[in-house]
């Protein structure tokens, strides 16, 4: 594969917010002392009366966002992943997801976080949120995205402006490789087949999508045809696409930088086991916390948990032998 083009999700997120903020006066952006890091402070410079920095007070961040939303605003609340689902789950549940104006489900708040997963790197295990998808997935009315690149970030941000209701979107800290084309469409609950294949499927999300594509390339060289899915919409998940992959390829490997318990891999497993059960192997954090790793050492940290294209190749080969 060619060397990837690396782009920054946080910058793209705020760039998009400023663009939609011009058209839609109801878009408001909130932060909790990480607004320079998340770049959302630029939105504040553009729209000072629609930007609120509540300080290091994430519970407050979530609930103030809810109050704005119930009054007709579209609230985008952003900080690091570890400080939102990891810290303010009660407020997320009781102040955003639960309150449902007549005919609606939840309040119109979008929690968009950066620094998801192990790839956070040097800050260490305390900052590497590997539980957020599990937490957010079980809260009714929430929809959960993990975009793979900045094209997804931009399109999903626009989608969330237009689609009423609570969303959680997790971005990565570091620059990410472009995997989608500008023309790619993103729909709620619709996975994307990035590469077709017939011998096995790798269901991936976030930074592992590029790894999955690389793994498929390596497998191709060995004569194994591997399908690659970007399951950016973890909730709702694309049951049809998964059932089709199970029927047509007979086995699935899932990859994510999240605990294998409760994450995207679990969501895929739940779905497939109800539609067309096939052997599944989940790659991800092996139910253990992360640790510090300097930026160039992040691949070593990911490798420790098996999150590499080489391990994907290995797991695909093994699971093909277990096909029913």
């Amino acid at each position: 594969m060619n060397d990837p083009i690396m782009t920054d999700m946080r910058s793209e997120y705020t760039k998009t917010l400023i663009q939609v903020g011009k058209d839609n006066p109801n878009v408001v952006v909130l932060g909790a002392d990480t607004t320079d890091s998340l770049k959302t402070s630029s939105f504040g410079k553009e729209f000072p009366n629609r930007f609120f920095n509540v300080g290091i007070a994430e519970a407050n961040l979530v609930t103030v966002s809810a109050g704005l939303a119930v009054s007709g605003k579209i609230s985008f609340a952003s900080t690091y992943a570890i400080f939102l689902p990891g810290r303010a789950v009660d407020q997320i549940r009781n102040n955003i997801a639960y309150p449902s104006p007549l005919g609606k489900k939840g309040l119109n708040v979008k929690l968009v976080v950066s620094h998801g997963g192990l790839s956070v790197g040097p800050d260490g295990g305390s900052h590497q949120q590997i539980e957020d998808i599990a937490i957010m997935r079980v809260i009714p009315n929430f929809r959960v995205f993990i975009p793979a690149d900045t094209i997804a970030v931009s399109k999903l941000t626009r989608l969330m402006v237009n689609e009423y209701g609570p969303f959680y979107m997790r971005m990565a800290r570091s620059k990410t490789p472009l995997v989608h084309s500008e023309s790619q469409e993103f729909q709620i609950g619709k996975g994307i087949t990035l590469r077709d294949g017939s011998d096995c499927t790798i269901a991936s999300c976030g930074i592992t999508v590029r790894m999955a594509l690389e793994a498929a390339e390596l497998l191709q060289k060995e004569g194994i045809s591997c399908r690659v899915l970007d399951m950016f919409s973890i909730k709702p998940i694309d049951h049809d696409l998964l059932e089709k992959a199970a029927r047509e390829t007979g086995c699935i490997v899932t990859t994510e930088e999240h605990n294998i318990l409760g994450g995207m891999g679990s969501a895929v497993t739940e779905s497939v086991s109800e539609s067309y059960p096939v052997p599944i192997k989940r790659i991800g954090a092996q139910d253990m916390f992360g640790e510090s790793a300097r930026d160039k050492e992040v691949p070593l940290l990911l490798e420790k948990h098996g999150i590499t294209s080489f391990n994907m190749v290995k797991q695909v080969k093994e699971i093909r032998n277990k096909k029913l």
Binding site: N60, G67, N94
Partner: protein
């Protein structure tokens, strides 16, 4: 505009009764915290909140956020009285399929906030207030927080945020009832100065211990401290908050958990417990038997009425009775509206203006403009037409409508049609015009005649006893049905007005206790009497009530 004092009081009573109905039917719920904020909600719903029950989502409505969501029955009962849904719907509280959930929920149109998880309502209110600022709306956000939930750190996160963003369209009431689920707040997590000893009454009595106001002031808030059961203080605080620009306002309202029912007051057990069905009728009777003491300042120094007002204030009178005499309707002359206007700035305590003058319809506007909250005119100098005129203009100005009859006067038949909307009926028990007269004993039998007429014509106001009321007879006057008591020499004539008023209250309380015991005995004999006594666990109440029951022969 007047305070609309009696109308607010009447609706607060209706709401309290609905709280009892709802929690009793549900078999669970939180009456204690509903009652501590009853006057606050009553004052908001009946005087200050802009809302339209027919259009709950009206975009310019004021927002009421009940952060202490467990007091849901208190919110729902006020909403029912305000017309959002029929009062009978309170019987569905906490039941499957009801929009009246255990905690306030957007499922019920008109509810602004899903309460339940404590400490979050203030942040939410800040969000609503910010949205109002962005949209240049002039709606106001009123939020009730509890003292228990002030343990939550998020309250203080929100406090800083409100201050930073200068949300002066936000007014918060702290329902400072000193009780949370486990025990007294100052035992669990002190908001004031830590309580070292075991004497819990220190929490309320010793104002030098109170630090909660300092906390909020240091967070940059406009802080007002009031008695949270005094409608006029709540009203004045809201007006002051609305005039304050650039900062949010915190109204620290000292309240009593379970207020209005002796056995619930200050009793942590009633944080989250419903009353049993057999005591509900007794409870309702107690709720209907709230009373007020109104000193009459003409019994004091007529050359220094300003000082008499101050004595009433420090004596904590419920309202102040102003006898206006013109020297024609009665031989004496006291003062007129000009004096009332002068006295008005001295206090927010309601002015109960009693016009003993001829042709009251000609002067009524002056007494409205002077700042009266209740105006009473005499049957002897009005007829259907002139009283109708007076009635309408008072109602339009949100002033209580009072009607008075002299000892020799029977209630005129033409007045019957006004009885259901009358706020106050003064039954004179002396011949007006002179102070220092003795209570006319025939008034007792007159009261019993009156009661049946009043009941027949759906009178829902307060009967005020005026003339010769003293410590010896106040209990029996209360038993006759009077709920407001004018005290002349017996109060204002005393050295210490505060003690005199307290003694008046104690006597009424004794009378009320025996009436409630009589009701218990009538409904369930000694078993129910014993149960009723057993509910009173705080302080000396139980022994005192037991003594009354023994003397009456209800128990051994």
């Amino acid at each position: 505009m007047g305070l609309n004092y009696y109308q607010i009081k009447k609706n607060i009573l209706r709401s309290r009764k609905l709280v009892i109905l709802a929690t009793n039917t549900a078999g669970s719920g939180h009456p204690g915290g509903s009652f501590s904020m009853a006057e606050i909600l009553g004052c908001l719903f009946n005087k200050h909140l802009k809302f339209d029950p027919k259009n709950p989502q009206w975009e310019n409505r004021d927002r009421l956020v009940l952060s202490k969501g467990h007091a849901a029955p208190g919110l729902f009962s006020n909403m029912a009285v305000a017309g959002y849904f029929p009062e009978s719907e309170l019987e569905t509280l906490r039941k499957f399929g009801s929009k009246l959930q255990g905690h306030p929920d957007l499922k019920c149109p008109g509810v602004e906030f899903c309460g339940g998880s404590l400490g979050t309502g203030l942040s939410y209110s800040v969000g609503i207030a910010l949205a109002g600022k962005i949209d240049s709306k002039d709606y106001h956000v009123y939020t009730i927080i509890g003292d228990g939930e002030s343990d939550e750190g998020q309250i203080w996160e929100a406090a800083m945020t409100a201050s930073k963003y200068k949300v002066d369209n936000l007014t918060v009431f702290l329902d400072r009832n000193f009780i949370q689920q486990d025990s007294y707040t100052e035992r669990i997590m002190p908001l004031d100065e830590r309580l070292e000893g075991d004497d819990l009454s220190e929490m309320w009595k010793d104002a030098s211990r109170w630090k909660t106001g300092d906390k909020w002031r240091s967070f940059g808030w406009n802080v007002i401290e009031i008695d949270g059961h005094r409608v006029e203080q709540i009203d004045a605080a809201i007006k002051k908050a609305n005039r304050t620009k650039g900062v949010p306002t915190m109204i620290i309202s000292r309240t009593i958990k379970g207020k209005s029912l002796e056995h619930m007051e200050d009793n942590p057990q009633w944080h989250g417990k419903a009353p049993d069905s057999d005591v509900v009728p007794i409870i309702n009777l107690e709720l209907e038997s709230q009373f007020m003491i109104a000193p009459s300042i003409i019994a004091g120094d007529m050359t220094n009425l300003e000082n008499e007002i101050k004595r009433c204030v420090s004596g904590r009178s419920d309202y102040i009775h102003l006898d206006v005499m013109d020297g024609q309707f009665v031989p004496t002359k006291t003062f007129d509206h000009l004096k009332i206007k002068e006295l008005r700035p001295l206090t927010v305590i309601p002015f109960d203006t009693h016009l003993m003058i001829n042709n009251p319809e000609k002067h009524i506007q002056n007494y409205i403009d002077a700042g009266s909250d209740i105006v009473t005119v005499h049957a002897e100098v009005t007829d259907e037409s002139s009283f109708g005129e007076i009635h309408d203009v008072l109602k339009q100005n949100q002033i209580g409508v009072g009607f008075a009859i002299n000892p020799e006067t029977e209630l005129p038949e033409w007045s019957y049609k006004f009885l259901s909307s009358l706020d106050q009926l003064i039954v004179m028990s002396v011949v007006p015009g002179k102070s220092g007269q003795k209570y006319i004993e025939e008034t007792h039998s007159k009261m019993s005649r009156l009661n049946s007429i009043l009941k027949q014509h759906n009178f829902s106001g307060y009967i005020e006893a005026d003339g010769g009321v003293n410590l010896e007879n106040i209990g029996s006057v209360f038993a006759d049905g009077a709920r407001a008591f004018v005290g002349g020499g017996a109060i204002i004539g005393q050295q210490d007005v505060r003690i005199a008023i307290r003694e008046f209250r104690d006597e009424v309380l004794k009378s009320r206790r025996s009436i409630l015991l009589e009701k218990s005995n009538e409904l369930g004999g000694s078993d129910l009497v014993n149960k009723w006594i057993g509910l009173h666990v705080i302080g000396e109440k139980r022994e005192q009530i037991k003594k009354i029951a023994k003397e009456a022969g209800y128990i051994e």
